[in-house]
C-alpha cells in the first residue's frame, strides 16, 4: 500500500496530477490516499522530495 511520509511531504500536488486513478487528493496540507489506489507507484516516482513509498507486503 501507498505510504505517505508526512514529515517529508511538501503537499505540492505533483503526485495528484499524475495519478491516473484519481486516488490522491490534497486537502490543504494533507495528502489523502483514496480507495482507488492501485499501488502503481507513479506518484512515488514523480514526488520531488521522496515523500511517497509503495510498501510491498
Amino acid at each position: 500500500m501507498l505510504k505517505v511520509h508526512r514529515d517529508i511531504c511538501g503537499y505540492c500536488g505533483c503526485c495528484v496530477s499524475v495519478c491516473k486513478e484519481g486516488a490522491l487528493e490534497l486537502i490543504d496540507a494533507y495528502l489523502e490516499v483514496g480507495p482507488g489506489c492501485t499501488d502503481c507507484g507513479v506518484c512515488a516516482k514523480a514526488c520531488p522530495v521522496g515523500a511517497l513509498e509503495v510498501e510491498r507486503e
Partner: protein, 398 residues
Amino acid sequence: MKKHYNLLMIGGGPAGAIAARTAAKAGLSACIVEKRPAIGAPVRCAEGIGMESLAEFVKPDPCFISAEMQRAALVAPDGTTMILDSQSSGGKVGYVLDRKVFDRELVWQAAEAGSDVAVKTRASAPIIKDGKVRGATLEFCGTKTDVTADVVIAADGVESKFSKWCGIDTTVPLREIMSSAQYIVTDIDIDPHCTVFCLGNEVAPQGYLWVFPKGDRTANVGIGISGLKSGTGHRAKDYLDRYMASKFPNGKTIEWIVGGVSVCRPLACTVGDGLIIAGDAARVVDPLTGGGIYNAMYTGDLAAKVAIDAIEKGDTSKNALMPYDMQWRQSKMGKTIERNYHIKEYMINLTDAKMNAIIQTASSINLKEFSTLQLVKELIKRDPKLIFELAILKDLIT
C-alpha cells in the same frame, strides 16, 4: 456566500481571479473558492513573467514585483554561457514576481469589482444534473454547502481534480510532469537583473535548473526534472541540493518550495456542459519554459468572456462554451504552446555534447529580440548541420 452564482471559480490563483474580475466587472455574480486558508500561499512557482504579458492584465506595481529582469543566461552542460539581451524594450524584458502579494492583488481586484471570495473552502464534488455541471459542493470547516452556478470555471491548478470528477481525464503523463523543487536563497552573489537557465543531463535531466533573482542578493533557485528521470537518490531536491552545495554553499535558504509543472499538450477539450477549464488545470503551461502565469490569466479572462456571452444567450451547453476552446487554440498563446511543445520534445532528446555545440554556436549570436523563435531561426542560419535536426522546428517557425 449566495446559493447561486452566474460564475463559480474553483481555485483562487491567477486564472480564477482574472475570470472572477472579468465576470464581476461585466455585472455578473461571481465567487472564487480557494481551498487554502490564504490566497497566494504556499507559492508553487518560479515567479517569472514577461513584461508585456503582465501588463496585458494588470498594471505593474512594485508591491508585487520582486525584481526587474534585463537579460537571460543560458548555461550549457560544459559551462558555456550564452547571454540573451534585449535591445528593443528599454532594457527590460520581464519580472520576477512576489506571488504571495500578486495573487492577493488579483483576488482583491476581483473582490473590488464585486466578486465573492471564500477561503479555506474546498470544492469536494461537482453538482451534476442531466449530465450538465450545475455547481459544486463546498466544504468549509466540516460544513457542506451546495452552491449552484450557470457556469463553473475549473481553475484548480496542476492537481486539476474538479474536471476529473466531471469525467474529463486530466492526468499528466509521468514523463511530462516536471518534478520541481525551489529554494528562496539569500546572501548570494548574483547578477540581480539576469535570469539563469542551466541545461544538461547531469544538471537537470529533461528539464532545467534556474536562478531567478528576487533582489540584489536573493533569488529563487530551483529545478524541474522529468518525472521519468526522478527516483530515489536522484529527485529534484537531490539535484538542487547538489547545485546549491557547489554554487551557493554559503547561501541561506529562507523558503522551501516544491511543486509539479505539466509540460504536456493541453487537454484535448477544455469545455464541458456548464464547465470551462482554465490555467494549469487545462494544461496550458508553456511546455518549453514551464511558464504558466500569463497563460492562466489569458485563459481565465477568455473563459469568463465566453461564459458571459453564453449566459446572456441562455445556453451554457458544451457547444455554447466551445468558442473558448477554439479561441485560445487559435490565439498567439495557443500557437506558442504548440510550437514550444515540439521544441521541448527536440530538446529533451539532446545529448550533453549536442547541447554544448548548440549553445557554443548560439553564444556567438547577438539577438535583437528576446525570443525562442528568433534564437532557433538564428541557430539554423549559423549551423547548416543543424538544419536537418531542426527541420521539424523549421516548419513550425517559418
